[in-house]
Symmetry: C2
Subunit: 253 residues, 2 copies
């Protein structure tokens, strides 16, 4: 049984609290949180502390706070030589204070406050300074997820950039689709099956194999018609740049 | 029972043949195809003709050929005053020869040759010149799909542009994510749950509500770090443009 404590009360902390509490291989010892009331709906008050001096022994401590608070929180912990990890995709392992053994436990998913997540499918990226700590993190991660990866800080940075493309930017393209629909009295519902199928396709095909559309088949008539249709300057720039990128891609083949 | 014939043997034609054949409310009379052998695995040879003069009476004829062949094929049909529709997202109704009653039957989905589709969830966009023909198309569309919409030529053009954003461009962003992973020895698998969740989120949230990430929260440190990470000029341009678009969007709120 892995004994773990969490520092933090935000989105990631709350999802981890729920995942750990319902797991028989994990003992959630305590949660350290400045704002106790943010998590009292998730666990008993006697296991929440706002004073880091009250933190009891655990096999590891997970700092799940905002990126810019990680270094400070790790420096404030009143103990030494224990395993302390953060959950960030962008912060390096070295941001953690050196007085403890350091690591990263990064769940690669977009967490929404009110949406339950199935942790078994969420990839968890692990990094440690030594093999024994990796085993501890592995045990914890495998207890809640079927997709556990060893990823170093440099790779994690790359992964986070890639995630911005496939999550943040993709969602922004959904929004542009939504706006075009609204401006033409078309229900956005009509695009949702296409959006689902686009995401489903790459489960079995590589994105390169799955690529279709006017840019891919170099259909200049359609591209020209679309460019004339787009009166919003930013949308037009995005259309042109992504079309060029798909076209150049073809040439690289 | 709606009697329908299809002209064409490509991707869309093949998926329609399969959907119509398995449906008790539809009688697939014939398929007109230059290359009979492309569809002999789908229906009996005596219902395939390469000679348009052999086309028998049907309630409607669906021209499912490439965009630039639609006008010519419609002109070659040897009959008049019957209902003839095409399946294109980009071609206007007026491209069809005027000797027949014209319409559009546009299934909004990305069809892959080897991937079965569930037609019940595919939106079908209809346009006709008169109400009676709309009823015929409605009957046919509702027999195979639960998502039937009346969409005029101008709206269909908008819809196609929107579809390019949420399908073609989104898939290209998946590919960039894949490339970043490959260049850093990270399995692309690791991003797939995030891709699925991104698509799932907008079933219940609007894309604007679902937007997260460094651009949305104006996290300039992370944006700067990502821009330094991206050495590929095109990827860097796409990152900058989409980040700006998300940021400006916030201001519009």
């Amino acid at each position: 049984m892995t004994k773990v404590s969490i520092i933090g009360s935000g989105n990631v902390a709350q999802h981890l609290i729920q995942a750990f509490q319902s797991n028989s291989e994990i003992e959630l010892v305590q949660v350290g949180a400045r704002n106790k009331e943010r998590i009292t709906h998730l666990l008993d008050l006697d296991r929440i502390t706002s004073d880091y001096n009250q933190l009891q022994f655990a096999d590891l401590y997970i700092i799940a706070v905002s990126d810019d608070a990680i270094a400070e929180v790790s420096a404030q912990l009143p103990f030494e030589n224990r395993l302390v990890v953060h959950t960030s995709g962008t912060v390096t392992l070295s941001a953690l204070a050196t007085k403890n053994r350091r690591g990263v436990f990064y769940p690669l998913q977009t967490f929404s406050k009110d949406k339950a997540v199935d942790f078994t499918t969420i990839p968890i990226c692990l990094e440690t300074e030594n093999e024994e700590d990796l085993q501890t993190l592995n045990r914890l991660a495998n207890a809640i997820s079927n997709a556990v990866y060893k990823i170093n800080s440099e790779q994690r940075k790359a992964l986070h950039v890639a995630a911005v493309f496939v999550n943040n930017f993709v969602n922004h393209l959904y929004q542009i689709g939504n706006e075009i629909c609204e401006n033409n009295q078309i229900p956005f519902e009509i695009l949702k099956p296409l959006i689902q199928e686009t995401a489903n396709k790459i489960v079995t095909l590589s994105p390169k194999e799955a690529q279709t559309g006017p840019a891919k088949r170099n259909d200049l008539t359609t591209i020209e018609a679309h460019q004339q249709f787009l009166t919003d300057a930013t949308q037009s720039k995005i259309y042109t740049l992504l079309t060029q990128s798909i076209q150049n891609n073809g040439k690289k083949l």
